[in-house]
Structure formats: structure tokens, C-alpha cells
Symmetry: C2
Subunit: 280 residues, 2 copies
């Protein structure tokens, strides 16, 4: 057992999704599609007499993380470092939960598999109400297509075989809990249509188109986000809204070409990884 361990979990931008609720949190989740980002969260877990969570050095309460620690029956200090904002559609809470599971597994010698750790983090995120599909996508990496909802025992994932530079621009935040706690009928109808389109044509171009249509038909598109997406289109680029956040992401140099000053990263293929430890 190591005294401290580190894990990296990519950010994940969802382009479209459906919602599925079940009494079993590991069967609850979403279908959908998204992009894993090289901008993510580095999570450090260390033994402690009392658990505490910090994000970029500041104390923070992230229910999904607390639930992971409770499930593993451990007390630990969890420190996350990221350039991504919380609540803007990058799956930061999911990344913290999954990174906590991966790193705590090493520190406390729990000897769980990747699927088991992903199941724990997915269940924690679902029960906290902060996400439905980020965790399983972040565990996989690349451009995950979630064909079936739920944790690794229940879902079925595929991927778009592509890679790209990704730019993103954050206008504000949206509360996942508020959106998922309301009527999600329109979301699921629009999400199923988008999924069908991407399954028929699993390319990045088709993914971006499906995501734009989803954001309109689900009713989640805000005026400010629409305005940025239009600017990118006018400049010849390809952008969409990150669910659930007031955030625009674009392929290549889409946002830069439209005159914005975006953050720049790449699609990240490895998924969640343990970075180092004494014993693995």
C-alpha cells in the first residue's frame, strides 16, 4: 500500500444525451456522445484521519467524491488540480470522483479493477445528481458513444475513430442538478435522434452536427451560446454547446478563427489513468 497516489482523468464535453433512471444507480445513466479532453483533473489521494477535499488548493464539498470515499470505507485527503471550471460542462465532478476511486484504490490496497472503480464513481455521481454519463466516458477516453446507459456492467460503449485539436470558450455555468431534476422528455427525444445520426455516421463532423441539433431541440441552447456557435460557423468552423454548461467547444481553430480567445487542447484517448504509485 502506497502512502499517496495520483490519477489523471480527462475532461469530458457531452454533445448530446438521453436520461435513464433506475432504482439501481449502476443502471441509471445516459446514452449520448462526447469528447474527452487533454485538459482534465489530476487527483492526489493521501491517507488522513479525517476526509477533506480540495480543488486547486481551496476546500470544496463534492458529494460524488465523498460518496466514493464512503463506498471504499476510507478517510483521505483528496486534492484536485485542474484548469477546467466546475459547472460548465467539462465533467469536473465526475473526474474528481473517478480520480479519487483510481488513486484511493492504490493508497488503500483495495485491489479493485478498472470497471469496479468506474462503477463506484458512476454510482456516486448519479446519487449526487451531478452527472449521468461523464464517468463512464472519462474512464474510456477518446470520443465515446454511449449506446446503452449505466455503469460498465450494464452499458455498451463505442467510439468515433478520429482525433482533433479542440478549442473551448466558457460563457457561464448551468446546474446539472436543476436540468436533470426537471422534465427531461425533450432531452431524451432529441438525444435519441442525435445518437441515431452518429451511430449511422460515426465521424466528428456528424457528431458536431448532431450536437448542434440536439442543443436546439432539447431546449438547452442559450442565446449567448447560439451567438458564439454562429460566429464560428460564419468563420467556416464547426462548434457546438457543451452539456451541461454555458460553454462552446469547436474543432481545430474554429473559435480562434472567429476572433475568440479560447482554451486549446486535444482529444485525449487514454481515459482515466493511475499516474504513479509505490505498488500497483
Amino acid at each position: 500500500m502506497a502512502g499517496v497516489a495520483h490519477a489523471f482523468v480527462p475532461g469530458h464535453v457531452t454533445g448530446f444525451f438521453t436520461t435513464h433512471t433506475d432504482a439501481d444507480p449502476t443502471k441509471t445513466g445516459s446514452q449520448g456522445g462526447g469528447v474527452c479532453l487533454s485538459d482534465g483533473v489530476t487527483v492526489t489521494v493521501e491517507r488522513a484521519s479525517e476526509s477533506a477535499v480540495r480543488l486547486n488548493g481551496e476546500p470544496i464539498d463534492i458529494e460524488a467524491v465523498t460518496r466514493v470515499l464512503d463506498t471504499l470505507q476510507v478517510n483521505a485527503t483528496v486534492s484536485g488540480e485542474t484548469s477546467l471550471p466546475l459547472g460548465s460542462g467539462f465533467g469536473v465532478s465526475g473526474a474528481l470522483a473517478l480520480g479519487t476511486a483510481f488513486a484511493a484504490n492504490i493508497v488503500f490496497g483495495r485491489q479493485l479493477s478498472e470497471n469496479e472503480l468506474t462503477t463506484i464513481a458512476h454510482g456516486a455521481e448519479v446519487q449526487a445528481g451531478t452527472g449521468l454519463g461523464d464517468v463512464v466516458a472519462q474512464a474510456r477516453g477518446g470520443i465515446p458513444i454511449r449506446l446503452e446507459p449505466g455503469g460498465p456492467q450494464h452499458n455498451y460503449l463505442d467510439g468515433i475513430p478520429a482525433t482533433a485539436r479542440v478549442e473551448y470558450y466558457v460563457l457561464g455555468s448551468l446546474s446539472t442538478d436543476d436540468v436533470l431534476g426537471g422534465d427531461t422528455t425533450n432531452i431524451t427525444t432529441a438525444g435519441k435522434a442525435a445518437l441515431s445520426q452518429v451511430v449511422n455516421e460515426p465521424t466528428l463532423t456528424s457528431f458536431m452536427q448532431a450536437s448542434r441539433t440536439f442543443s436546439r431541440e432539447s431546449g438547452l441552447l442559450t442565446e449567448d451560446v447560439q451567438s458564439v456557435i454562429s460566429d464560428v460557423a460564419e468563420a467556416g468552423g464547426d462548434a457546438a454547446m457543451a452539456m451541461l454548461g454555458e460553454t462552446v467547444f469547436a474543432l481545430g481553430t474554429g473559435l480562434s478563427d472567429a476572433g475568440y480567445d479560447p482554451a486549446i487542447c486535444e482529444i485525449h484517448h487514454p481515459g482515466a489513468v493511475v499516474l504513479q504509485s509505490d505498488e500497483q
Copy 2:
């Protein structure tokens, strides 16, 4: 559609495996465990009037690659570049087949998903008799545990949440076709025992132990390989035999510490990836 596309596929060292034959090649395959390596094969696919395959600049006949091109109904020049030897347990033929599928999908605008491309390459490798589990492991990356045999529609994969430096030392080659064409009862019995051990304790230490036991009980261990593994153990390291090749792989600095001059790489987590293209 791009004129040329590139893909990278990690090498894959199998530690233990079972064999399962089915009339459907996508249901044929193996359970088992292995390690994906940062040493792999970069595959370039280019349109051509007649198909041709080269490995490190030399013309070569790889049936699994020809079968992938036939399935996609394309003529192409396939060029593989690798530092790994063929026939020594690194999954080079599987990497060539999978890389061909990923890159040809871009060049010829086939719009197939990662699972569909993996299914095609897995089926091609099975029909060529050159492998049962490398392709699905190489598509996943990391330290894949193949809990069920077959392609992505039928198998079930998990992984060991760890990473490590890996050293390897090649003594000679073994013919996969000869081994898999003979009586595989002992292999499958030993493979199931090893899988059970690693499922109970999904750590790298347990994986190496299970792999060593498998190599003895399956009858595949050669005297020369055993001698190197013993040298590494005497130097305090952890080594096992790469299936199917006369190759030893070790964690950390195991082979170096025992006085060998091994090749050095890392565990590779992304799995097969498209490197670049005009349109993805």
C-alpha cells in the same frame, strides 16, 4: 476522403489466455490478460490500384491485413513501421490488421465506428490463424483483462488500474498457428486458472504471478525463457513469458538489474488511435 491516413496501434504482450472456437469468427477468440506497450506499429494507408503491404520498408504477406482490405473492399498500399519483431509475442500482425482498418476507414470514407473496425480486424486475425485476443486488447489499451472471448459485440473487457515501465528481451520466435492448431486443452485449463486469480486480485503483481504459473502449466514455457525469468527473480525482479513468443517481459528494471540489455518502453493506455487525416 483523405489520400493518406496514419494510425498507431500498441504492441500487446499476452501473459495468459484460453482458446474458444466458434463458426463465427467474431465469436471466436480468447479470454486472458496482457499489457499494451508504447512500442507498437505505425500504419500508413494510401490508395493504390493494387494492394501491397510493407513492414519497415520490406514487402511482406500478412494474411490478416489482406483480409481487412478485402472486407473493406479497397485496394491500398499499407506500410507498417515498428521496432517490434514479428512472431515473438507482441501482436504485430494484429496491430497491422487493426491499424489498416483504422487508417483505411479514413482514406476511403467508410464511416465505421471503432467497434466495427475492431470487429473487422479481429475477424481477419482469427481467420488468418495468427491471433485470438491481441486485436481487441490493442483497441482498448492499458492492461486489458479479457473476461469473455470474441470481438466487441460479444466480449467483455476489464483492466488493471496501474501503469509501469516495461522491459522486454527477445530470444526467438514461436508460430501462433502451430500452437493454436494443436491440442489447446492444457492452455485453456491453465488460462482459466490464471484469469480467475487476476479477477480476484487485479494488480500487476498478481498478473505477473498468474502469467508465470500459466506458462509452466500450459506447457508453453521453454527452457531458455525459464532461465531468463529465473535470473530476473534472483535479481529481485518480476518477469514472465510473452505469449506466443520466445520473449521475456519484466516490470520496472527487472531485466536490466539481471544484467540483460532489454528494450525499454511503457504501458500504453490509449489503445489504437488515428494519428491524423484530412477528414475524420
